[in-house]
Symmetry: C2
Subunit: 569 residues, 2 copies
């Protein structure tokens, strides 16, 4: 039963679906069409090409062993027909045809399909700013834009760059400009934090501090008004608060599904414009499949529809589509929304909901922040990892986890471990007892992810009263009001410099001396205890409670977290 499969879009999902199908049904025919001349490239690699870490743009188009995945490659190696420079202009579902046009010659044609795959991906959100068509402004989402950026920075023509949007691509591009090329880089973000919706506001201050320490200017709660140019090239970005010099501008204000074609053909979409598919990745037309950046799939934490424009989603879904095109019954049940991004010294990673989004979704949620070494503390190479767990109080269900660390792979080892728990709607007990592989070069005997579950349990049980790192920093900022008593419970060798720096404000009573010196602890005002990471201060809090001091809070993550957020202590 030979058939003809047409695939519109040849970047990630399209080629995957096409090749998988051909391997299963070598006797059938596949036509893969794309409006661009270059196909099947790793778009997520663009920041690393711009930075210079990836040498050539063809590296992004190549197999691991340096064979360029062009039309000839697909024909020879996969027996897949590819039409590049070919735009699909209309899908006629009744006739089962796709109208196409050669974007170079204007020549039109019509392809008949038995099965159709919509793999047009996403398009960058381009707000209608005045001056948006000036040269030097791009979204950095395709290879032409990538080459423009790389050529400009490599030619030494760029002194300053502005990134609009502090999401993944925005921050990756900021690192590429500032770290590798020493360009004065400013990130302008409309919301009041970097990585909005992915990190809690509290933890986002850590990411922001990492950027700022390396010289990137981060402007939050600020909106771009227009771009100004000179001789047709961008020269300045005007925001609601200031004017910023800019030889280059990257618009990284998110992406939207590129589904106009689908909508016109009556394919069902959600309000965002993402195509609605069933678990077999089939649209409302049983002969039409879609996936990747085009579709909405279930968020397995909330049960609602989510949007996950990620190369990994596209590849996994592409294989499911390829299987089902050949009569298979593979399913793709949804996602919990895992992600990771490399900044400068720090990497950030997470899955599921942030505390802010959990509350927005109606959960009675709390979040708990822990700092701990990512492996045995006596092992020489190690990093202090930050993790935050988001939990639904009444059910103790785990809703999300986010983290930051210098050793990014070790961070992904913890987040990946929790992803199946998010999917299974597990409770924090499963985090406390989560089996993560252990030996001293890789984990602690009581690993940070287990400790995170344990501390969360203590918080839920009302035994541990914590301040987030951001709350502590804010409270300390008001220390002159003398409304709270700040007690450093580390040994005096560690605490002394701060006691001397802030006489009468920063107190030091090591855990070991609390019983003997309890009379120094005021009974008439709130007390905050802090240590290195929060371990000793938790015990100090318990002891103070036992000795009759009721209003005591422990600073989550201790001094380590304060340092990571760039707190002014």
């Amino acid at each position: 039963m030979s058939k003809h499969v047409v695939v519109i879009g040849a970047v990630a999902l399209g080629p995957k679906a096409a090749c998988r199908f051909k391997r299963l049904e070598p006797g059938s025919r596949v036509t893969l069409i794309d409006q661009a001349p270059r196909i099947s490239y790793g778009g997520c690699g663009i920041p690393y090409f711009v930075s210079g870490e990836v040498n050539s743009v063809t590296d992004l188009q190549s197999t691991p062993y340096h064979i360029v995945r062009d039309a000839a490659f697909f024909k020879t190696n996969k027996d897949v027909d590819v039409l590049t420079n070919t735009r699909a202009t209309k899908v006629n579902r009744a006739e089962k045809t796709v109208e196409i046009v050669d974007v170079l010659t204007g020549k039109t044609d019509t392809l008949h399909y038995d099965k159709l795959v919509l793999a047009m991906g996403s398009k960058a959100n381009l707000p209608p700013f005045e001056g948006i068509n000036l040269s030097g402004i791009s979204a950095a989402t395709n290879l032409d834009e990538a080459e423009m950026l790389r050529n400009a920075v490599a030619a030494g023509q760029v002194n300053s760059a502005v990134i609009v949007g502090a999401g993944f691509i925005g921050l990756e591009m900021a690192v590429a400009f500032a770290d590798m090329w020493g360009i004065e880089t400013t990130v302008v973000e409309l919301q009041d934090q970097v990585l909005p919706n992915f990190l809690s506001k509290s933890m986002a201050t850590m990411a922001q501090h990492d950027l700022e320490e390396k010289g990137v200017t981060v402007l939050l709660g600020e909106s771009v008004q227009r771009f100004e140019g000179e001789d047709g090239a961008v020269a300045r970005v005007v925001t609601n608060k200031r004017t910023i010099e800019a030889d280059l501008v990257v618009l990284a204000a998110g992406v939207s599904p590129n589904t106009g074609l689908a909508k016109e053909a009556g394919i069902e979409c959600d309000p965002r414009g993402a195509i609605i598919v069933d678990e077999y990745m089939r649209t409302n037309d049983p002969d039409i499949y879609s996936g990747g950046d085009c579709v909405t799939i279930p968020n397995l934490v909330t049960g609602k529809r989510g949007y996950y424009p990620l190369g990994s989603m596209a590849n996994r879904q592409g294989r499911v589509i390829g299987t089902n095109l050949a009569g298979g019954k593979d399913t793709f049940p949804g996602a919990v929304g895992g992600w990771v991004v490399k900044l400068f010294d720090q990497s950030a990673c997470g899955a599921g909901l942030t505390i802010e989004n959990a509350v927005k979704e109606g959960f009675d949620a709390i979040s708990v922040h822990v700092e701990q070494f990512d492996r045995a503390h006596f092992f020489p190479e190690k990093a202090l990892m930050s993790l935050e767990l988001v939990v639904d109080k009444p059910t103790r269900r785990v809703l999300g986890i986010q983290g930051m660390s210098e050793l990014g792979d070790a961070l992904t080892a913890r987040i990946n471990a929790v992803v199946p728990l998010l999917k299974a709607h597990s409770t924090i007990e499963e985090v406390s007892n989560l089996e993560v592989v252990y030996s001293p070069p890789f984990a602690s005997a009581m690993d940070i992810v287990n400790a995170l579950g344990n501390v969360t349990e203590n918080v839920l049980e009302g035994r541990n009263h914590m301040m987030t790192p951001a709350e502590f920093a804010k409270a300390w900022g008001n220390c002159d009001t003398d409304e709270m008593c700040f007690i450093d419970t580390r040994l005096s060798g560690n605490a002394q410099p701060l006691v001397e720096k802030y006489p009468g404000r920063w107190h030091n009573i090591p855990n070991e001396e609390i019983r003997a010196r309890i009379n120094e602890v005021p009974a008439d005002k709130p007390i905050v205890v802090i240590c290195n990471t929060g371990l000793r201060s938790y015990e100090a809090m318990l002891l103070l409670n036992e000795l009759g001091r009721g209003d005591v809070k422990s600073a989550a993550g201790g001094m380590v977290a304060q340092k990571k957020i760039g707190s002014a202590i």
Copy 2:
């Protein structure tokens, strides 16, 4: 309701249970006893102390912020009474007492308990070899032995060392001797592979090659007969095959539960001597808890009893016991047996069953080996990771996963992600669609762990016929018999050196030329195709099948795997 809890054993589980209980019930009393003078140390860190990576033995006894966890620390900081140099000689369950003796003075005493925790850990297996009491022979399991070893190597007195046993401790000690001190090191293992029961025989050859490349001699299938000494110190190890010079010998032939005391008191144990506990970590006496290296807990893959003498197990179980001593109902349902070990360039990691053990357990199991970059292949810093998945054929259930890689944290990120799937008895479809966090510096868009699920599915569906790396090496070893045709399907630039080295034996037909050159492929003998990692050779196999060549196998892991096992090609 104040009570007295006695804890026998103060290394890992004991202190954890004691401190957790005291935090929950500060009004109760805990007595922690241990026969050694030093307590609460990271025994798993001993190889890193011997190597010199950990500077001082007190680092293994200290908190992350350098406070030594001695008896005074526990009294002052945790309000836990500690009796060191104190051996428990008898538990009288009817009276609820423990008889103790001071090992220095011989003074005896009796402690009454309300609840008792048995945390005596494990003891090294010491086979009754002649000469075992010579100096320089130790099991490297306590701090005294650790100091003896470190002092000896640091003094430059050690030219050669023999390790008996190629398990975790054995290999960690071999690395410590050879890597950091340049000592001529030999590992003698009774079984025919390193890391028996943890890596498949095939993948164990990779670990062995890593050891041998760094100068460690690995002797498999060889049994120690006796030790010979000079002036009371060990000088030679005599095996059934040879005599080996040895200034130091480490006996790393596994450990057994140290439960004599428990058995005498009528506590129920399994045939191995491990205490049987319920999910609350309670023994057959409801007032007596046990955990860590003393107990057997369910293997969540087989449903049978397993034994997991790991510091991480002890810590997590210790907390459960601490909670339950205070009237809680925490549970510890079991383990899938996750582990990780750092060798020289490579680290090895796994969870669940190996293929050999799966078959032994009665599963109709197969295993599939994949080699792939651990992150986007265009990202500059990366490693080729090896993964092996073990699957039950009839149910497609995942039974185990093992791997090796140079970037160990990235390896743990994949194994940790699969652990919850092993626990949940998931099928390979969940591996194919497993959500692992993605961006180019951390993962591939089609990540190796997803590819592992995909390849396994192709094998189960009969589409992919593979040879394991070890099988390929063996077949190539017989290439002179001309019984098989070996075809390298890489581009000729890669294959040419081998074609010239093995004229008439090593053939090269790149995938791109198979159709045109099909007549060069014999139809009358088995064919093996090989490429860099197994991706191209899979497609070559499909094409050869399509073109009428039925008996074709693809070399799993390709040339990369051959190189990792040290194959003679």
